[in-house]
Amino acid sequence: MTKLNSKIPSGPLAEKWTKYKDTANLVNPANKKKLDVIVVGTGLAGASAASSLGELGYQVKNFCYQDSSRRAHSVAAQGGINAAKNYRNDGDSIYHLFYDMIKGGDYRAREANVYRAAQVSNDVIDHFTAIGVPFARDYGGNLDNRSFGGVQVSRTFYAKGLTGQQCLLGTYSSLNRQINKGMVTMYPRQEMLDLVVIDGKARGIITRNLITGEIERHSAHAVVLATGGYGTIYYLSTLAVNSNPSAAWKAHKKGAYFANPSFVQIHPTSIPQLNDFQAKLTLMSESLRNDGRIWVPKAKGDKRHANTIPNEERDYFLERRYPAFGNLVPRDVASRAAKERCDAGYGVSDTGLAVNLDFRDAIQKQGKKAIESKYGNLFEMYETITGTSPYDEPMRIYPAGHYTMGGLWVDYELMTTVPGLYAIGESNFSDHGANRLGASSLMQTSGDGYFILPYTIANYLSDEIRTPRISTDLKEFEEAEKEVMNQLEKLISIKGTKSATSFHRKLGKIMWDYCGMSRNEEGLNKARVMVKKLKEDFYKDLMVPGGLNELNQELEKAGRVADYFDVADLMITDALNRTESCGAHFREESQTEEGEAKRNDADFMYVAAWEYNSSKQIHQLHKEDLKYEEVEVKVRSYK
């Protein structure tokens, strides 16, 4: 039944990428000039791809919905970026990094892709250093490292708590250099509203100019999506409020398979919700777990101030349950453990939906100054938001939707099932399996854009050198534009009584409750009905003020929320289908006696790639079986 071809090169794992590069087709410089590439998104993946392709000589058009490419949400990544440099001499290697990711992903990622991500990680760090990214250094003038969850070496490079910002701004500067040279044309405040497929190949996109409302057609020989994940499905998440999966979803509806949609990472350490109108949850970097200890009171409903509770009455539940990794267990494990304690009634704060992250011992041992130099800006941010200082009392944290391992299905070349359409960074599904380890997102997304896509796209474009520039007058463009206009007109003409955000908030609550940190069949089925009902209400009672031909933020939101309903439905479908627990996907029906996730390798060692059947409006499952040739598939344990 499967039509999926992952195109993994044969040969030993460590040599696959070299072999691929040696045999892939190239495009000569004179021809590159004649080839257009559209890159959607300007985060680390998009900006690195656009700038690299510009350096190579392609004509690149780069789009983002923000007012400037520098604002893409990679900017908010805090803790760090991994690389197998082994600068610490602590036994790290490409293989170790690869192995940690495979294990961290709970054996649901593709070996060859993960190995390649680990291989290029060192190049990524070197490149960032060369373009002036100010990573932390030691007094010898060399780069410093810190440790992150789920691993036993220090391989994380960082720039205080602003690693994402620094990597993104570095990439933004490379992008600017290509804009300066005329190789990249930047289209800010443009939102992709559809993909244009001609003769089975991705040939362009339809966008809306967010200032004027004008619908525009843009053509290219290939289209690269670097549009991030769908974590905002929960409404409250650590993502930017405008982050959205619409571009990827439109591509999905035009033929790109969507893989593992139920694999969503819930980050254990975010600031808990403070009010009903809250627009987002702010992440506190995982790096804090290096020195912070997580605990709740041993007594149920203990409402004493944290500082007055003596040590013997504290339950350091991560250290208790997972002595080998302690507070540094992977994110899915830490999140579930916190949820378990709160559900059992041990949570702190008025809502009972929080646990303590305590720096008392670290401050005592290392001094306030040392802690300040490591986490100063994070502590400040926490104090700004909550009004209390983590130097004086424990932080209160709770899990929040954060990262989506699922995404558009791509083969080894990062191409989706639509020829000429690529997905990189978080928008694809490829490298993190069922759970992502900390600091590997910046690594993967930069690796995709800087060092992988530029090679693989050439292999495709080498066959396109005879294709002249694609006209936007073709009927496929016209049809796609018409479809986009119809949808926008439909949304604006409902003229109901409720804002798009109010629907989004309700949807988020349903998904958080039934398709969040833990799922069961009954809940999922219930959620499916609720989502369907909410979608019907949406199309009856939505209110979008203003017109089409103007800056209209409500119209933008409405379009995205409309897609969220469909994404939610597919997430539920996938979560129902996967009756095992693995990584971040925890099916209550499948757990060990100790409450740990229980995988079912016999039935579920595959990537679930969903095809959208537009005529029947249903989803059809395709399985890509995962083969582990290099690593032994084991029970993932951090005990």
């Binding site: 007012d67 900017v75 908010a76 373009i131 100010p134 205080k160 500067s173 600017n176």
Partner: protein, 246 residues
């Protein structure tokens, strides 16, 4: 809590704007300023009125998208934060709050509180980069950097490009923004190679775009949400003169 808002409304770049009063009683001290505006907008939308347009994205103080002039201060009266981090607990019940967009010739208003900050990108495009192609980098440790210099470079590099410096400056000067980038690269060996071209190109672009001139008032530093120092401006001046006379 209740707040009396006076907010600048302007349909688009070519329309004439005006202040509109909103007496809003749906705020609470736990809300951020933007969440308060979200709540106000929800009411407007439910009445079928145009909500107040404003930029915001990450809502955690790092993307630089948000920014409005609140009661005479860019990003509001609290030091060292962006508008999205401004909590309503800093306002009194019943307080009058005037909300305006950034005002600068180089930042024309697009709608309501949204301004066009594309000129910042143009300055960066003119020279805010190190010309190293992908794949040509040596091993990271081939270029040791003095820790102090590297840390200072980081301090300059944390600019979020929000435009508060321009908004705060009585001359609408972009010197702090430009100097932060110039300084970031001027302090590390990787950036020194094209230091001369960089500072000249960026300043020339800055002048072309209609920003005012720096008169060393220090308002930019005082209002910068990332508290970037005017030492960067002095450093850029130095870089510029050295570039011109060498």
């Amino acid at each position: 809590m209740r707040v009396k808002l006076k907010i600048w409304r302007q349909k688009d770049a070519n329309s004439k704007g005006a202040f509109v009063n909103y007496d809003f009683d749906g705020a609470s001290p736990e809300m951020s300023f933007l969440e308060m505006l979200d709540a106000l907008n929800t009411r407007l939308i439910e009445k079928g009125e145009d909500p107040i347009a404003f930029d915001s994205d990450c809502r955690e103080g790092i993307c630089g998208a948000c920014g409005m002039y609140i009661n005479g201060y860019p990003h509001g009266p609290v030091k060292g934060i962006t508008t999205c981090h401004l909590s309503m607990r800093y306002f009194k019940d019943g307080q009058n709050i005037v909300v305006e967009p950034w005002r600068s010739k180089a930042f024309p208003v697009i709608r309501d509180l949204i301004v066009d900050r594309n000129s910042f990108d143009k300055i960066q495009v003119a020279g805010g980069f190190i010309s190293t192609n992908v794949g040509s980098a040596p091993d990271s440790h081939a270029i040791p950097v003095i820790k102090e210099k590297s840390d200072h470079s980081f301090d300059s590099a944390i600019c979020i490009g929000c435009g508060a410096c321009v908004a705060a400056c009585k001359n609408a000067s972009a010197m702090l923004f430009v100097s932060a980038k110039v300084s970031q690269y001027a302090q590390i060996p990787q950036g020194k190679i094209e230091a001369k071209e960089r500072v000249e190109a960026m300043i020339q672009k800055m002048d072309e775009l209609g920003f005012g001139n720096c008169t060393n008032t220090g308002a930019c530093e005082a209002q910068c949400p990332k508290e970037i120092s005017v030492i960067n401006i002095a450093r850029m001046n130095r870089e510029f003169y050295v570039a011109k006379i060498s």
